[in-house]
Amino acid sequence: MKKIVISFLLILLAISICGTTLKVWAMGEEAKTLPVVTQEFEKENPGVKVEVQALPWSNAFEKLLTGVAGRQLPDVIQMGTTWMPSFSAMGAFQDLGKYIEKSEIISEDKFFPGSWSTCVYKGKVYGIPWYVDTRVLFYRTDLLAEVGYTEAPKNWDELYDAAKKLAERPDMYGLTFQTNEIQEFIPFVWQNGATVIDENNKLKVDEPNFKEALDYFARFFEEDIVPKAGSGNIFQDFASGFVPMFFTGPWMVSMIHEQTPQIDGKWAVALMPEKITRTSFMGGSNWVISKTSKNKELAWKFVEFMSTPEVQLQWYQLLKALPAVKEVWNYSELKDDPFTSVFGEQLKDARATPNIAEWEKIESIVEGVLEKRVLGKITTDEAIDEMTQKISKILK
């Protein structure tokens, strides 16, 4: 009798360990490629199955929102850094503090500070970085050489000078910016040692360094160095020289190679221009564990797995996504690649926007005011006033 009971219990135990499914939500191409990597995880953890549900980037947000509202979330979710503040505020994520303490693989110093900051909300850690991206200068080496720049412009003055010279070519421009994209504007603010709000959530837009950054950015529009209508087709415009410089992220490297191979060898990437610093914008995706998950230990194991240098390197090899773990950047594959290495260097000085729930609203105000300023509808002082007035209401 005893034997039967024991074997029965053993079988139950076996069943409960076996056949655990870890549900993961990931987006787009990443989701489609994930199974290659999760196979390894399943091998290392027999009885575990990783089920990835792929969400399209275009509507992943609505899906996440309804999932939170209906408390129908998977165990692990890929979360874009710009979505972290809002979803953290909703309280849908698991506080990872105690897991990090016990972990041998994951700790704050393994990741870039800018990236880690997107995981911290109100002092607690809710995510672990998966891959990162940052923005750098893409430029036409041949066209810049024609105006006397054998290397990329290194600071604000050189950027302005080079762009202005390039814009002197008839019907051409030197650079392009969007009129209302904070990810393009705020790096200049940071480079000048200024910020929109500081760590204590105090508004800092009336500081002289902020004004200087705004003036610098707007000047490109005022002096017709950038097309006010923007670039209709950046591949076309970069290849034709209509827009010989612009700022964007790592995904464009392979896209430019693919779409316009005719300019191979005639373009390169470089770090952000320097004022006080060379800070750039930081993005990427983090892993979060939902509070309602019933497999949190297993989910954590998965996140640890994705953060090991081997898997991070493998992920880079698969999709050319920049690894979030710093030590992976020492591999020669990344260190010696002419494009990737620049991104690696930039990552050392890259920041993310503040991880507070109100940031979306603040961003919306800044972008609206920025557009009016660069299109010449208001002056810098009026812009500062409007931002101060509207953002103060949100912060109080």
Binding site: Q72, M255, E258
Partner: protein, 277 residues
């Protein structure tokens, strides 16, 4: 039947207008199909290439390798056919009721039905989701089909169409002892073929292309419909656009087939020959 000859100028003029309209309307469609056969370096070229110089099937090959078509296609067929049939039936029945029945409060009730069209879908996304969740209908065919099956658009359209069916026909049948069900089947439906065919097209297109709702309702990929399964191949920054176009083209083909098939019923009804004034 008409013995008058149509002037050549008129025929020419009409067909020129139609051809111009065709060009304007079809440009994005052409671009979509053409791009699906292009290599990446031909996509953003200027002037745009309508016919790729080096056409390739690579996109379609990659599409079939990356996307598992079987289950999503089955789901889409089940959802589209069922919801189209149910929706057209319910719209015809309710349209008949609102057109020909007599009862107090009919106009107000109809305004309530119309009112359901006056709130943007984005607002009801979360509430409908919560209701489906509480009825345990998430990730089921019922959850995919039911919310869209009662359509004020369809009811309104059928009501308008059925209003123009002469009351005399109906009264005559009633005098012969026919009840509403018989009238519906033998008089209303046959005379409404063009409307039914048109509504079928609209509903089928809507159901076949439906994207946001199936994404929200599905808690695992097995319940994805075809448009959702295909949309996932896209990267965050618009990479793989040719791949997406090839997927979209594949999704459109059944719609075009249904459209041509339904055209047969949108011809002038021999049905009207039953009227003797």
């Amino acid at each position: 039947m008409r013995k008058k000859k149509i002037p050549f100028i008129e025929q020419l003029g009409v067909h020129i207008i139609l051809f111009a309209a065709f060009l304007i309307m079809a440009i994005p469609f052409f671009w979509m199909v053409s791009t699906s056969f292009k290599n990446p370096d031909e996509i953003y070229i200027f002037p745009p290439r309508w016919v790729p110089h080096r056409p390739t099937f690579d996109n379609y090959i990659e599409l079939f390798k990356t996307v598992d078509f079987g289950r999503p296609l089955l789901n889409t067929i089940i959802v589209a056919v069922t919801s189209t049939f149910l929706s057209v039936m319910l719209s015809a029945m309710a349209g008949y009721g609102f057109a020909k029945f007599r009862f107090r409060g009919k106009e107000k009730l109809f305004l309530l039905v119309l009112a359901t069209l006056m709130v943007p879908g984005q607002m009801t996304l979360i509430p409908v989701y919560l209701i489906l969740n509480s009825l345990n209908l998430l990730n089921t065919y019922a959850g995919l089909i039911l919310p869209g099956v009662a359509s004020a658009f369809g009811i309104f359209f059928m009501r308008q169409f059925i209003t123009s069916i002469p009351d005399e026909l109906i009264d005559a049948a009633k005098m012969d002892g026919a009840r509403e069900f018989f009238i519906f089947l033998k008089i209303i439906l046959p005379l409404s073929k063009p409307a039914l065919a048109t509504l079928t097209i609209f509903n089928f297109v809507g159901a076949w292309n439906s994207f946001l709702w199936p994404l929200i309702v599905a808690t695992d990929e097995k319940m994805y419909t075809l448009p959702v399964a295909i949309s996932v191949v896209q990267g965050q920054y618009g990479e793989k656009i040719a791949l997406q176009m090839s997927g979209s083209f594949i999704v459109i083909i059944p719609i075009i087939i249904v459209f041509f098939f339904a055209q047969k019923y949108i011809i002038k009804g021999l049905s009207m020959s039953g009227m003797k004034f």
